[in-house]
Every structure is written in structure tokens, then in C-alpha cells.
Symmetry: C4
Subunit: 376 residues, 4 copies
């Protein structure tokens, strides 16, 4: 038998690595977690996912006041229903066996462009940053409407987004053109490889969202086989960011999206190179989230090939406690910012960028029956 | 202690790899999944296993109409019983503890060559492709009869088949001779290594079936220790196909057989180099399958050393829905073709051959208690 | 952080490898499984462990007739009790919580040298090979008595045995001397490394038993941290055997002992380089074994630091069926010889030595909830 | 896709390695396990953790008489409560759901410096070694008081301690200064990397405690992502110790702390390079421990970000039996010293330093449903 015919390089996820303490330590009270995305400055590098169970106008207000950011999905219930509460209730109250069917039905109501415009104005009236997301398919049309209605940042997001897309339509989405046309910064995702990231960065985007296949409410990997574990995806896209920065002098933040369940995961994403993280499930567990203890991905309602499922995650605490504690939970699901600052102290990093130089080791673990097992 | 005395190279299975998105994306509606095996053209690269729970004349008709293909086993109940339904019912109705005993008994009735001939004519009358399988032991005799009765393609399949076989009989099976003698294309399997694949290709076969030990209804690996995980087996045999094509200019499709349970597995097999897949369990779950929700391997009834077990897999949907959706299942067990096309879109492949150039990463996962764990 | 300070090489067990089919196949009916250990020739390379639950005079007779071999422990109940049945019954009937205490008590009765001598004569009267085992501590005294009573082969076995032992006594056991003094072949174990194996081979032994820490009824690894998985241990000791054969022209069989539960494990041991295997649990499951469905290791009754536990394994079939089938079990626990021959056929090996050239791949698997998972 | 952008080296834990037997064996009765830490000599290299569930004055007396050592935490209940029994009872009697809240409450009572001083004098009156621990934050103040009250050794311990710490206060803790000022040896921890260890050794410390993130009652890794498995951490810090010894001629013992549950783990820590181990849970299982069958880490009561949980571990035996046996337990949780000596015998090591030269192999295992699985 001959040698291998193909190189299959290893890719690592959060459960497989851990962070090595530094050679100096820093008082956690002294560290900074500030971040700029386009023209928006946040003090907490945590962005609420563009999922209907996570981001609503009132939730956006709430996380904005705490220093973070939320992204509203322009193709979700907020743009389909005058009163989204009814739609959300239908999903939340569906039985376990028909939840996907209900999701498919709720999202079969078409997007209403006037409603979408009203929703953005409603957010702007709250006096907060208005970041909204669209899919590449609808980006040209909806993003124009959104900017006119007052959106501050446009996020163009789908499971996999590349700078080049081969399609039937004569004029597919060209990010360079979109960015020139829109007066606001554009953040694009999701992406997981160095080459695709570099090409997207070169179109002039203001932020890159990283992650395909790792989310808790996402079954892309199970259904299509496609996915790259988040630590490797983040490392690779961060390398593209650094390369781009070195060449063009513009620093574009990397936002790791998907699979982050604990403070430990958040810290590992940042050490891997993320400037911020996008999280869903941990925030749905807040009292303020519209999902009322349930979460579902935006690919879950797909009429033909749903990739995801409605997951019951429960409500555990007010958002402020989830972000900043204090907490009596010791499993990492509360006080995300405290965990990040404590970690920064242990690795000796004064700010997010210094965290990118901390060391990771491969130390896979599995928790079963309440115990962690080291695996390799 | 000295260094290692033996090189043991790693071999990967479906659960250990995932597919990396491409640098361009393609609209899934634009991709082609066509394939030729010998003189047969199919639009769906999914072949139903030569197992009695999967392929019967009526099932063959059904999958043929949907663009796929099924292989009938000439050594199964269809060639042993005038009315195979009774035999199938006995297996299906056996209790969990005596199912292997019942299998051994059902398959102790001898093969009836006239019946075999009739069955092939019955299939031909349905106006569809007639692909049938025999074991190497019976290949010389039965394949001749089958071709005379109208079979379009002969599959010679056993757990492990090689171009050379050492046996008591003076004249063992020689594939070159068999292929010359038969007027129809011959597909051979199963095989898992580069060298064995190359040697089989050089005999003039029209298709190579890949897979030893990974099937859900197969315990070859447990009983005999023999088996190679499917991703590595497919990569190696595909390398032999490419080598053979480069040298002789004839492209022989690789058919990965065994262990494919989801759309994700199917996509990984194709990215590994498969031109088509052979699946059993997912198709047995169709309403049209003769197994009525049960599956068993053709080595399960072995009188002395059964390798496999009757597995209850349940009936979930019509075959059309399993192949094309739409579906409310989000675990990858329905809409195999939709999953394949979606994956092709994400990696930027317009056809099956372009899928062979997509990248795989090593990203082992285990699903327990409903969650995926990354393992290494 | 600097690079690694220590090389930790990987060691593999049965569950981590699988056997690759060969480039030719052989009819299983044509293969030979013969083996010579010293002056003893066996046709089945399976040796029953020197454990009280496995080997008694009547069991030795039974396996001898089937072509295999059993080793009687000269320090077990057979040498401590005139009627060992009572002692065995006490162990078998102990409750789960006090089984170790009962074991410690049963083995606190001293060894009776006259009884030991009688027992050997009892075996010889059965007209079979009489292979008996002693620990290094008692080897000088007991082996002399055993040979005088008629033993054909002496096995000197402990958890770890080396050619050199540092001890308080002025004259420790020196294998060269023992071998010269005894008129019969001496088999020694257990050993797991190349260097230790080579040194033992150079003392003139006639067989080497391989395995520390992998047995099902052994917790040496849990209690002391010591153990080497069997595939690597066998490969390394087999390399020492081949080196010794090359240098001195004497072929000394390697006997892999511990952790073999299925036909697949047996085949993997042989492909790793074993000439024979020593098994306990699979044979205790025979109707003829003295353990009556229970098994325990010889380190389990240790008064201060027991390493092992009495395990209930059940009785499944007559010994003949376990060794040769036919069987309706498809999990590899019956028809060990059939499995070995089938495997030899698939890798194209006509005899045990040709099996040593078959290829292994790293393909770790775990079986949970009835399914195998590929892990890495 | 390009190659990797970051080196992530593997780190190993106890469950992933095993110890290889040596080329000679030694009679376990002949081995020495002696150790010196500063001016203290112990015959058993086992140190009880500075945790309130483990070390109280009476427990310290008990382990001292058996040849080991215990460290009292100067920031725990012993320095906060005149009668610590009440406080301990509150923790022990708390329900499973409010145990963290109760811990947070119990530890909100301030440290009383007079009480602390009295407690040390109480220990000295018992005629035993008095080793006490403080955190870096309180080290300057409390260690001075402790030494004046009679403490023999000061341990400065926190989750991660480095020679350099960046803090708001103008004069942070400088170990060189502290060591010069105090008349007694100083032991520092915890540390896991070569560079940080070397820098700490150069400050003049008398012992280095190794371990971040692996303890059973610690969730640092889950909450903050920080942690290095113990085998790698010990190997790296031991390399720093050897480097420092080579350069300065002073041998500073390495104490591996955290994650040791069995004799096997203890042996692996020593083979990895530890001179002693610090253990909590196994000792809490003794009748003499103040935790009454419960254990909790000193980071568990953190008011904002608790990292750990109260764990019920049960009471299994007197301390003497846990350390020296005899035992009927065969899972490695009793007779730690017997296990160590048996292991030393099998690897052929006469003393602790010789154990550092034994070989480790990578042989990951997981125990589920009572069985060990080899994983990789």
C-alpha cells in the first residue's frame, strides 16, 4: 500500500484547545476590551446574532446600554409581521415534533419592505446603533432600503459567502459595487478560510464574520458535511486580516460566530484571533431576549432542506448578569466579560490585540457524566 | 526503548472529516450531478445496495424513475423464492434474539437459476436498467445466465475482492476473462487500497465499488478486524482511478459503498473522490423498500460466521422525499440530492468531478446526548 | 513557550487499529494456523490464560482436544485446595461488594507443594500437554517440583518480568540458570518493550508473553499507571523476536496476552506480530470453564494492592462453538478460528507468519449505544 | 487553502499517557520515596491541598505522623471563624442548588489576623511542620504575620502566579524581596510553563507548584478557557527545574497539584518529573478530613466569577488506609504509596529521581460503562 494521496490538515474547535497562562500576569481591572467596527465603538466585544430569538428592537437597546451590540435580521419575523410577537409565540409554543414544520410555516410569509423600513426607524428612535443583516440574494435591494431608513451598518450574511458567486442572474452580488453604493460600512460573512477571507477583505468590507457549521442551533455540518471548527477558522481568517493590514494599513475586525457557549469559548475565540464574537444561545438565555428560552437558526426554516432545529435553552438571568455577573453559576455560562478579563489577566494581555499573541495548546476534552475527559 | 518498528498510517472515516467551503460559491440550481457507469447514464449518483431489504424489481423501477439506480442481488431471496415476500416477512417478523438464526435459515434455501432468469426478465419488462450482482464464487456461472436473460450490467461483489485469488479450484475467477466473455460492463468490489484498485482497473472493469467494514449493517471489522474507514479508502481508490485514467484514458467511476447515513456523509464521499455512492439503510427507510423498515447485510446470514445483524431502521418517507425533499427532518437523513447540491454550491463545484478538488479537514466529532463533540 | 522537552510516542490498542485487506485473497479453507512452542505443536494458536477461572485439568483436556492449549496456574486454587471446587464456588457466589475481600481470603490459604505435584500428575494422566505457570518469586522452587512431577513446559509469569531484577535476596531469579537447570522449555512474561524482550530472549526462553495493563480483568494501569496498549507492545516485542531470529537463527514465538475479546482483536494481535494469543474472558464464557461465568485476574486477590476485580462474563456456548462456531453471534465473541481464517483469506495470508506482513491502519473506534464511532 | 498559521502543540493529561515498564525491575520494598522541601523532610511525597475541606490543624497532625504534609490556607475558614466547624457545617449541609451561594456567603466574612496568628500557634503546639498558604495579593502582609507566629514554610498560591505582575498598586508583590525578608522557605504556584517556571525559580523559591485548570473541584478551564493538562505542565516545569539546577546547583522540588485521583495518576505525575504531588479529593475521602466527604476549591466562593463547585466525594477509609492500604478497592483510590512503590518496582526506579527517567507513551483512554476505551 502506498503513502497518502491527499493532505488532510487538522482543524480545531473550542473543546480541543486551551489557553496557556502568560509569563506575566495583569490585574483584570486594568484591561481594556474596547473595539471599533466601522464607525461604531463598543466596550464589550460581544455581538448578538442576527437571529429572531436573539435580536429585537428592545433587546438591541438593552445590549447597547451594556456596551455590546446586536444585529437585527431584516429577513426574519421583524420584517414579515406587523406584530412579531405572535409569530414568535407560535414558534415557542410548537411541540417538539412539529417545531421545524411550524418554523417553515412562520417564515413562509413574505418580507414586507415597508415594515422593514419602519422597524429600522423604530430602532433609530431608541437612540442606539442600528446594525441590520441581509442575505446575499437580497442584499442589493434590501440594504438600499435599510440605509435609506437609517441603518448604520449593513451585515451581509449567509452560511457561506464568497467574493465571487456563480449564478444564473446576469449581475450577481458584487461586494465592491455594493460597498461603493452604500454610504455605510458593510460587514460580510460567513467565511472560514484564509484565501476567501483575503478576497472578501479586498472588496473593502468593514468586518468579517467567521464560522461555518459550528453553531449549536445549526446542522449545516450534519446535513451537507460542510464546516470548519472555529479555532482553526478564526486563526486562518485572522491571518488574512493581519496580511491585509500589513499590505493596506486598514485593520478589519474578525467576528467569530457560532459554537460559543461559555466564557471559556469566548476567550479561546479571542486568543485565536477574533476581535469580537457573535453569540446566540447564551444571550437567548437572558430574560430580555425575544426567544423566551428557545433558539433557532435562520437556516432552520428552509422549506426544502432545513439545517437546524428549535432548541430549548431556558431563561437563566437578566442580560446584565449574563454579561457581567455576579453569578453563582460556575460553568462559564454567566459573566462572560468577567471571564474574558480574568483570562486576560492570566495571560498578561492588556487589550484584545495582545490576547491574539497568547498561546494555545491542543488539549481536547469531553465532559460526560459531569466530568471532563482528556481525549486525543 | 527504541523507536517505532512499523508505520501505521491514519485512516479517516466520515465522522472525522468535514468539507471546507470554497473560494467561490455556485448557485445550487446550476450544478450537475450526472454520471455514467458503463452504458448507463444516471442523473442522481445514488445506487441502492445489492441487499434484499433494499432492491426488489418494484424498488428498482421506483429509483430508476427518480434518476438513480438499484442493484439486485442474484444470490438473495429473489433468486431463492418464487414469492420472496414470504421470505422477507419471516425475516422482518423474527424476534430480536433469533433474527440471525432466521436469516441463516431463510438463506439456506438454494439459488434457483431459472427463477433468477425469470427475475431478470421481469425487471427488463419494467423498461429500466437491469443491474445485478453476484459473488466471485458464483460469478462465472450466474453472470452468464444473467446476461443471457437480459442484464445490462454485472456487479461482482464480495466483502473483499481482488484481481488475484488463491483457491483450491484449478481455474479461479479471472476478471479479464470474465469481462471478455460477457457482452456487458462489469463492476467489481469491494476494494479499499490503491494497489488492489489499480490491479482491478487493469482487468477492464467499468466501475469499482469501495468499502470494507464500515457499513451500519456489517460487523466485518468487529468479527475479523478487517476494515478501512471510507474517506481514506475512497481517496486511495480514487487516486488509482486517476492514475489509470492518466495512463489509459478511460475514466472508471468509483462507487463508495457503506457507512453513508446522511447527506453530509454522501457529500464527504464525493469530495473524497467518489463518483457515486451505494447506500442501503437510508433507502430502506423509504416506503417503497422491500425491507419494511428493517435492514440486513448479505454476510449476516453466513451459516458459520455471520458478520452483521438485522437492524430496525424504521420507515420515514416516500423514496422521492428521501432523495429530493422537501423535508422537515434536519439531521441529514432526507433530501440527499438537495444536500449534495447545496454542498456543491458552498464549495463552488459545478459537477461531481469538481467536487473531487474540494478540501477536507480533519475535524472528528462525536454526537452524544444530542450534542456534537469535537474529538481528536 | 519553548518546544517539547520529552518525546512521548503513541502506543496503540486493538480498538485503535484495523487490518487492511491484501492485494490478493486466499480461500480460508486453505490457510494453516499451526504453531510450535518449544516441543509442543498446536493447530489453534489460542492459549487459555493461567487463571483459575479459565484453566483446570478438565478444561485443559477439552481445549487440547480442540487443537489449542491451556496453562494451569501453580499458585492458584488448584495448588491450595484438595477440592478446588469449593474455593471456586466461594468466589463465584460472593456478592458484588465483597468479591475482592473473598478473593483475598480464598488466596490466603498457602500453596501445598504435594498437592501441586499431584495436580500435574492428574493432568499428565489425561494424556495431554501439561503447561504450568509460576511467578518469578517462586520459580526456582516450584518449577523444579513441577518438572519432576511431569510438566512439559514451565511458564514464568508476573505483571512485569525482566531478565534483571533488583531484590534483597542474595540470589534472585536468573533465567539463564533456570533454563539450564530445567529439562523443559521455559516461557516467560509479561513484557512489552523491545529492549526488555531482547534481553529475555537472550536468556534462552522458548516463548515470550506480551502484555502489561490491557486485560479486562486487570486494573494495573488504573492503580499504578503502568501499561502499554497491545498492538504497540506486540509490534515491539515481535521486532525483538525477528532481530533475535536474524542473529541467532532461533524463532521464539510471541504470545499476546490480555485485552482480546473478539475475533477481530485476535486477528489484530496476529497481524501485529503475535504467533499465538493468550485469552481469558472469551474462554470463561464456555460451558467447560471452571469460572462458571465469572473471571478474575491473578493480581486481583493481592492482600494490600488488588489490581483487578471479579467480572461476571456469563456462559454463552460450548468451548468448541466459541473456537470454531457455527454461531449466530455476530459480535466476534464466537468462532475465533473461523474469524482468523476469514481474515487470513482477506489479507491473502496462507499462514500465521504471512499475517505478520499485513498492513494495519490507525482507525480508532468506540462503540456506544450500539454504534461504532470513529475517533481520533 | 494555505498551510497552518499557528503552531498549536499538544498537551497531555493523566488519562492520555501510561507508564512503560523498565528493562530491570526492583523489589518495591527496597525503594525510597523521601523528599526535602526547604528544611522539611518527608517520607511520603504527598502534600494535602491548601483547601478548607482538606487541611485543618488536626488533619495536619494526622498526615504528618504518616510521613506526608498538609498546607493550611491562611485565607480560608480557619482564619475567618473562631470555630471553623460551624462554617464547614454550613457548607457541607447546603443543598446542591445553593452550595455556591452558601460558599460565597461563608467566605464573605473577613480574615482575622489575630485568629490567623493563633491558628499557627495551635499547629506549632502539635509539634509538627507548619506550612501555610496565602494568595499573592495578601502575601506581603499575611506571610509576615505567619512567620512571626511560627510558620515553617510559606506557600504563595493562586490560580496563575508569575514572577512579574502588572497591577494598579505602585509596589506589587516582588518574590525576590519577599524571600529575602522572610526567614523561612517560600513555595510558589501555580505555574505551568517552562519560561514562567524558570523566572520564578530565579527569584529564589524553595518549591514550585504546578497546575492550572485540571483539578476536579476547579472549573477554571471551563469558565476562562485557561488550563494546561498536567503531564505536559509537569514535564515543562521539571525541565525548567533541571535547567535551573544545572546552572545554579540548587534542586527545587516540583509539586504537581490538581487532577490526581488515583495511584496511577500519582505515578504518572512523578514519571512526568514531579518530586511530590498535592492532592485534595482523595484525602477528603479520609475519615480525618474536615470536609466530611465534600470538597470545594478556593476559587469556588469567588463573589463574581466562581470557578468550581462543591463536590460530594464521600468518606471511604481512614487516612492511613488511603495512603498505605491494605485495601479491597481496586480502582486506585486507596494505597497511594503502595501503588507508587509497585510502579517504581515495575519501572526499575529506586527513588523518586530515577522515576523521572521512566518512559511514558501516549495511550489515551476513557472509562465508560465500567470499561476503558483506548482513544486517539
Amino acid at each position: 500500500m502506498t503513502s497518502e494521496f491527499r493532505n488532510i490538515r487538522p482543524a480545531y474547535g473550542f473543546d480541543e484547545v486551551s489557553i496557556v497562562p502568560g509569563q506575566i500576569t495583569v490585574n483584570p481591572d486594568l484591561v481594556s476590551t474596547n473595539l471599533s467596527i466601522g464607525n461604531i465603538n463598543i466596550s464589550v466585544p460581544i455581538i448578538a446574532s442576527a437571529m429572531d430569538a436573539v435580536s429585537s428592537p428592545s433587546f438591541m437597546k438593552c445590549i447597547d446600554e451594556l456596551g455590546g451590540l446586536a444585529v437585527m435580521n431584516l429577513e426574519g419575523v421583524q420584517s414579515r409581521y406587523v406584530d412579531p410577537t405572535d409569530a414568535l409565540n407560535r414558534i415557542v409554543n410548537a411541540g417538539p415534533d412539529d417545531s421545524t414544520t411550524v418554523l417553515q410555516d412562520v417564515y413562509s410569509v413574505p418580507i414586507n419592505e415597508n415594515l422593514l423600513s419602519d422597524r429600522i426607524q423604530e430602532i433609530k428612535k431608541l437612540g442606539i446603533n442600528c446594525v441590520v443583516s441581509v442575505t446575499p440574494l437580497n442584499a442589493k435591494k434590501l440594504s438600499q432600503i435599510a440605509v435609506e431608513a437609517g441603518a448604520d451598518v449593513i451585515v451581509v450574511q449567509s452560511t457561506v459567502t464568497t467574493a465571487r458567486h456563480s449564478s444564473k442572474s446576469i449581475t450577481g452580488l458584487v461586494f465592491d459595487d455594493l460597498i461603493k453604493k452604500l454610504a455605510v460600512p458593510v460587514v460580510v460573512g460567513n467565511c472560514v478560510t484564509y484565501d476567501a477571507a483575503l478576497e472578501l477583505l479586498e472588496t473593502g468590507i468593514s468586518g468579517l464574520i467567521v464560522g461555518v457549521g459550528p453553531g449549536a442551533a445549526c446542522t449545516t455540518r450534519e446535513v451537507t458535511g460542510v464546516g470548519v471548527p472555529q479555532v482553526t477558522a478564526t486563526i486562518d481568517c485572522a491571518a488574512a486580516r493581519d496580511k491585509y493590514f500589513k499590505e493596506y494599513g486598514r485593520y478589519v475586525p474578525i467576528i467569530t460566530d457560532g459554537g460559543i457557549r461559555t466564557g471559556g469559548d469566548l476567550c479561546k475565540a479571542v486568543v485565536s484571533g477574533a476581535d469580537a464574537v457573535m453569540i446566540g444561545t447564551p444571550l437567548v438565555q437572558s430574560q430580555e431576549a425575544p426567544g423566551k428560552g428557545y433558539n433557532w437558526g435562520m437556516a432552520s426554516p428552509h422549506p426544502d432542506l432545513p439545517r437546524g432545529v428549535r432548541v430549548e435553552v431556558g431563561i437563566t438571568a437578566p442580560l446584565k448578569q449574563i454579561l457581567f455577573g455576579p453569578t453563582s453559576m460556575n460553568n462559564g455560562t454567566q459573566n462572560f466579560v468577567g471571564a474574558l478579563k480574568t483570562c486576560m489577566g492570566m495571560v498578561g494581555a492588556s487589550n484584545i490585540k495582545e490576547m491574539h499573541s497568547a498561546e494555545l495548546v491542543l488539549a481536547p476534552s469531553i465532559k460526560t457524566e459531569g466530568k471532563f475527559f482528556q481525549l486525543r
